[in-house]
Amino acid sequence: MLVSPIQRAITEPPIVRRLLIGLTLGFLTLFLFLPLAAVFYEALRKGLGVYFAALVDPDAAAAIRLTLLCAMIAVPLNLVFGIAAAWAIAKFEFHGKSVLITLIDLPFAVSPVIAGLIYVLMFGAQGWLGPWLAAHDIKILFAVPGIVLATVFVTFPFIARELIPLMQEQGIEEEEAALVLGASGWQTFWRITLPNIKWGLLYGVVLCTARAMGEFGAVSVVSGHIRGATNTLPLQVEILYNEYQFAAAFAVASLLTVLALVMLAVKALIEWQAHQTRRAALAAKGETEG
């Protein structure tokens, strides 16, 4: 193949390229692939029997159920919020937007420990609502609602943050056109906006789910650690680790890792799909214009 001077000028000499690829792989090996390999190595060190025994243990099974349940509640809540927030922020101009976006981001930067602490201050027996909740026999802390709340808090910004730039980029022309043509607000949303943001939304959901299943610090503060009842998978890892069952701890950890990897695979698939759709759309546009 002929390499024109221009092409040569807009890429790097092969040696630089190889060096940069080498650096990338080296850095990622040190900080990403080896930790991942360590999880599976430790998990399988005592053999497959121990590995699967750890996963079918009743306490582990209860932890798996609880983790999935929390993600199933927390993600839809943040999904609705994410769409509402992105709609208001991306499609309208108003004063104080920067502060609003910052507040949405805040849970991302708040230490999980603090996230747990504030719910203790709110719902704890000595907290603001504690006495009232106790009087009405409503359990929030050290029960499923508290764990869900902590999960919602730590995954709060993800869907909104995924949608806001996407919807800002798309502008409001299409929606305006639909409205002018007589569509109602909801029709416009369902038929125009939602299809446009579909892939970004799914991407946000995937990230949110992955994070929801892995939260440790905040959940640890509000869980109460009752075995078989309020332990999520990450807490189960800690428990097994503390019981000197290292192989079992890493087995449960590897399950979480697999869940994370599945989520990442789904994410990659979504990106690929979105890419294809965009290309198809561009091609169609090119044809009509041509």
Partner: protein, 337 residues
């Protein structure tokens, strides 16, 4: 259309039902025992034995005993904040005192309600060293030698670590004719030799055993036995100092919770069971020192003889010890300034 919708809905509903069902058809009676880290294995056995005992005694009650374990302070805080423990079995009387003082869930004199200061078992602080004792560690004095690495958890977050600290302090006091200044020097030197302060006792054991850090681990006697048994008799051995502290982990009924749950009789029976012959035998099997001399005799082979002092004798009780040593700005903080 509607049928279709219903079909689609029924899957999540069913899933939800399946997920919540175990909680709903839970056994007739449930107790929650909130405890500290090292007692997991002990209470797993005790719970199994007591459930069977209670079933025959009560004529068929199905009793489920749930366990929650963590650092003693963390667990105490959880109970204060509303974790509904029917019984608490913690590492320090101080933590149950806090539950009484801050949440009023049990009376101030809780420790007088059961025999032996409400401690059905005792333990002490010993050393775990690597096989063959390469550094020749025999007693507390060896721990402050320059260059030795001592592993202990952080007394600020771990109940066991407070016993470690107080054991060292008490030893140094006795050794130096009750000279507080000398004791403080000793403990300062000791902590100079500590390269890692994990937040809990189990974390320290892991650091020592799995990570290969340190020459000696300060540990509960029961933890040292368990670590040797679980992690390799060919790798570690126990060294018993001449003198150490008598650790008395207390148990208590949480009055307000059992009255709300209506579980007072079974919770009381559960604690009493710990003092019974069966309970005491299980305690000995799990390397805690039984209180009942008749049972303790059976385990004399297992437990080495150590001169033991109590926290009341040397430190004037937990409140005092906490104030002087572990409170913010206390002696432990000063050591690290």
């Amino acid at each position: 259309m509607i049928k279709h919708l219903f079909q689609r809905l029924s899957i999540p509903i069913l899933t939800f039902g399946l997920l919540t069902a175990p909680a709903l058809r839970a056994a007739d009676l449930t107790l929650l025992n909130v405890s500290y880290d090292p007692t997991r294995e002990l209470y797993q056995d005790v719970n199994r034995a007591f459930s069977a005992y209670w079933k025959t005694k009560s004529g068929g009650d199905n009793l489920t005993i749930r366990q929650s374990h963590g650092g003693s302070g963390k667990q105490g805080r959880a109970v204060i904040d509303g974790l509904e423990a029917d019984v608490v079995t913690l590492a320090l009387a101080y933590d149950i005192d806090a539950i009484s003082a801050k949440a009023g869930l049990l009376p101030k004199d809780w420790q007088q309600r059961l025999p032996n200061n409400s401690s059905p078992y005792t333990s002490t602080i010993v050393f775990l060293v690597r096989k063959g004792n390469p550094k020749g560690i025999k007693d507390w004095d060896d721990l402050i030698k320059p260059g030795l690495a001592v592993i202990t958890p952080n007394p600020k977050t771990s109940g066991g670590a407070r016993w470690n600290y107080l054991a060292a302090w008490g030893y140094a006091l006795h050794r130096n004719g009750n000279d507080e200044v000398k004791a403080r020097e000793f403990v300062t030197k000791l902590f100079k030799n500590v390269p890692v302060l994990d937040s809990g006792a189990r974390g320290s054991t892991t650091t020592f055993v799995e990570r290969g850090i340190g020459d000696v681990l300060l540990a509960w006697e029961n933890e040292a036995f368990l670590a040797i048994k679980e992690l390799g008799p060919d790798q570690f051995e126990m060294v018993v100092p001449v003198e150490s502290i008598l650790a008395e982990p207390p148990v208590a009924l949480v009055d307000k919770v059992v009255d709300r749950h209506g579980t007072r009789p079974v919770a009381q029976a559960y604690l009493d069971y710990l003092y019974s012959d069966d309970g005491q035998t299980l305690i000995g099997k799990h390397f805690y020192r039984p209180r009942n001399p008749a049972i303790a005799v059976r385990f004399t082979q297992q437990f080495p003889t150590i001169k033991l002092f109590t926290i009341d004798e040397v430190f004037g009780g937990w409140q005092q010890a906490q104030q002087t040593h572990f409170a913010d700005g206390g002696i432990f903080d000063q050591i690290y300034q």
